[in-house]
């Protein structure tokens, strides 16, 4: 029977994948052709969604973007037998965007049926967990340390060090918490993985549990991702039935349980201590550190709290060895990073590559420039707290230290592209406004500073004593950076100051109005 693959990923559904799947089933039935329709996650090549794949002689041939109205034409063209059609893309794996990637964490995403544990295992799943179950906890932690894996949520803290602290902490109860509160604009890798390969996250969390001696885990998913939440809940249930979770995982005698929890619309809950407060049932206000969550985390117990991508990368490290992972990358940035190209970009999508390729290669070679066809003027890397950079910095290699050295950050890997219609003064104002909306209110520099920052930027934009007011903005940024309790207030100056420093012409409103006259 011919297998046809149509994504059930929320992004693919948002441009009509469900209607396409229904049309294919209906058309095949009408023509008396037996077709097995497999609903996968997305490959992450979003400009091609809905991307339909047909398996021929073990090779998957792509057609995209396909609208429901195109389906009859595809059948007429004999697409099930590889017939020519304007939407034909050839073998999907050979599409240069995909062929040039190094997919380790996303190796199965878009390929497997995310609801099938058997499919997961057939594509290399559970190898890491089986290996971990045969290892001493300290050896698992050592493998993660040696791989060089750092926190993919943005802070880049070495994962193995965090795990070692929790392993060494005494206590009758420990927790593994997955931070899937992916609030940064321009990022969607967590969502993509939960919807395309959820067992990979479950396996990673089980390995973490075995490594540090925790028997309970939580996945904290933002409520803006209802589809991912349902997928994750279903996968957890399937994993429980399949013996991947529960009192005796894979017959090892080891226990690990998992619960998916929904956030409630608060960006700050992506900050690890605010997330823990939220899980405990309180306002998502950050905690003072120390104590670190590794010592006193969820319900006061030693807790591993990692970003979703970090945890989902662990199975491949255990399966293929720490060295294999560490061999990718440059400097202190080891392994691969799933970059998400977003905003005004022609070929928006997920690019998982070893650290080291440049920002310019990402935006121009993978991204293909802007969607509008106008010149790229700015990119914001690392979410709403990341720096706005001009194309002059496109030679920066993807590397935590290289980005930091130039006043930016890799963050969670979101790259938002803007064309030459962007007004960086307005973007700087938005950075303050966003901070004001999402501040948890615990510390004054963030709570008050963000409001004053937006007001002062309004004056600059009006051309009201711009020079004096920009000096005030810089002072305010210094206070927020040095005085805030967490990264929300502490990093809001990054987009603001980078915009002022790299795009000063947008802040000189007097000159602009003269030019307009």
């Amino acid at each position: 029977m011919i297998r046809v693959f149509v994504p059930g990923d929320a992004a693919a559904l948002s441009v009509g994948a469900e209607a396409v799947a229904r049309a294919i089933a209906a058309e095949a039935a009408a023509r008396g052709i037996a077709v097995t329709l497999v609903r996968t996650g997305s490959r992450g090549l979003f400009w091609l969604e809905p991307l339909v794949e047909v398996e021929r002689a073990g090779v998957r041939i792509g057609y995209g973007p396909v609208a429901a109205a195109d389906v009859k034409g595809l059948f007429d063209a004999g697409f099930l037998a590889g017939g020519a059609h304007p939407a034909a893309l050839g073998p999907v794996e050979a599409i240069p965007y995909l062929a040039r990637q190094q997919r380790l964490t996303f190796a199965r995403c878009g390929i497997v049926d995310p609801a099938s544990l058997a499919d997961y295992e057939a594509h290399g799943g559970l190898k890491g967990l089986r290996r971990a179950l045969a290892m001493e906890p300290a050896a698992i932690v050592a493998a993660v340390t040696e791989s060089g894996l750092r926190g993919r949520g943005g802070a880049g803290f070495p994962t193995g060090i965090k795990w070692r602290t929790v392993l060494g902490a005494e206590g009758p109860r420990k927790y593994i918490v997955c931070n899937a509160d992916e609030g940064d604009s321009g990022t969607y890798s967590d969502r993509l993985l939960m919807e395309g390969d959820p067992f990979c996250l479950i396996e990673g969390m089980a390995i973490a549990g075995i490594a540090v001696g925790a028997e309970k885990g939580f996945v904290y998913i933002r409520s803006e991702y209802p589809h991912a939440f349902r997928r994750m809940q279903a996968a957890i249930e399937t994993a429980r039935v399949g013996g991947l979770l529960g009192a005796d995982i894979l017959g090892s005698g080891r226990a690990f349980e998992l619960e998916a929890r929904l956030g409630a619309g608060a960006y700050i809950c992506g900050e690890e201590t605010a997330l823990l407060e939220s899980l405990e049932g309180r306002r998502g206000q950050i905690r003072f550190k120390p104590p670190l969550p590794a010592i006193s985390g969820l319900f006061g117990r030693p807790t591993v709290i990692n970003n979703l991508i970090t945890l989902a990368t662990v199975p491949s490290i255990l399966a293929d060895g720490a060295d294999a992972y560490r061999d990718y990358g440059i400097g202190r940035s080891r392994g691969t990073m799933p970059i998400q190209l977003a905003g005004n970009v022609r070929h928006g999508g997920l690019v998982e590559r070893a650290f080291g390729l440049t920002l310019g290669e990402l935006v121009e070679e993978f991204g293909g420039g802007t969607a509008s066809g106008r010149p790229v003027r700015a990119v914001q890397v690392g979410g709403p707290l990341g720096a706005y950079w001009p194309t002059a910095l496109f030679d920066t290699p993807l590397d935590y230290e290289a980005f930091a050295a130039r006043g930016g950050m890799v963050g969670h890997g979101g790259v938002v592209v803007f064309d030459d219609t962007v007004d960086l003064a307005r973007q700087a104002r938005f950075a303050f406004q966003f901070c004001a909306i999402e501040s948890c209110g615990k510390c004054t520099p963030c709570r008050i500073g963000a409001v004053r920052g937006a007001e002062t930027m309004d004056k600059v934009i009006r051309g009201d004593a711009p020079e004096a007011n920009l000096t005030l903005v810089r002072d305010l940024c210094e206070v927020m950076r040095d005085g805030s309790l967490c990264a929300l207030g502490g990093l809001t100056p990054m987009p603001v100051l980078s915009a002022i420093d790299h795009f000063p012409e947008d802040f000189d409103r007097a000159a602009q109005s003269c030019a307009a006259d």
Partner: protein, 163 residues
């Protein structure tokens, strides 16, 4: 649009449902958010009269529950319209004309973001990122994502025609 106070007085309040939900979920570790989500989903909002009931069952003070309800954007204090339209105002959508889309929707529905139409058909809300940033601008209609959103596609989604 009716204010929260008016809605609270007008609407019948299903105390039994709140108690049933809270009793059913109290055994969870950290049960308050799951309970508030369940109440919000089933009754359409978290009525002020639900707060003391939940507080009593969880052995918390009213202030502790009230503070949590007020902190999170998701928990409504008054019922929303029949359809919930969330439109993204974050950077990746701004880069693709998201702000123009917001203004277009505000004109179309005749309400600013954050309000409900007089016929209570549509609640328009701002959201900061829906994770559909490669198909921006993005919106969500009744929990379903709309990519490359425009007024027509959003209206179609409200009318029950999937994207």
């Amino acid at each position: 649009m009716a204010g929260p106070a008016a809605a609270a007085e007008d609407a019948a309040f299903d105390a039994a449902a709140v108690i049933e939900i809270a009793e059913g979920l109290r055994g969870l570790e950290g049960p308050l958010l799951p309970i508030l989500h369940a109440v919000n989903d089933r009754l359409g909002h978290v009525d002020a009269r639900a707060v003391p009931l939940i507080a009593d069952i969880l052995n918390l003070s009213r202030a502790e529950v009230h503070g949590v309800v007020g902190f999170y954007h998701d928990f409504r204090r008054a019922p929303a319209g029949r359809h919930r339209v969330q439109v993204c105002r974050a950077e990746a959508c701004q880069a693709m004309g998201g702000e123009a889309l917001v203004q277009q929707l505000e004109r179309r529905f005749g309400i600013p973001c954050g309000q409900t139409t007089a016929d209570r058909q549509v609640t328009l809300e701002a959201v900061y990122c829906l994770g559909n940033c490669a198909l921006s601008p993005a919106a969500m209609v009744d929990g379903a994502l709309v990519g490359r959103a425009d007024g027509e596609r959003i209206a179609a989604a409200i009318a029950g025609r999937a994207p």
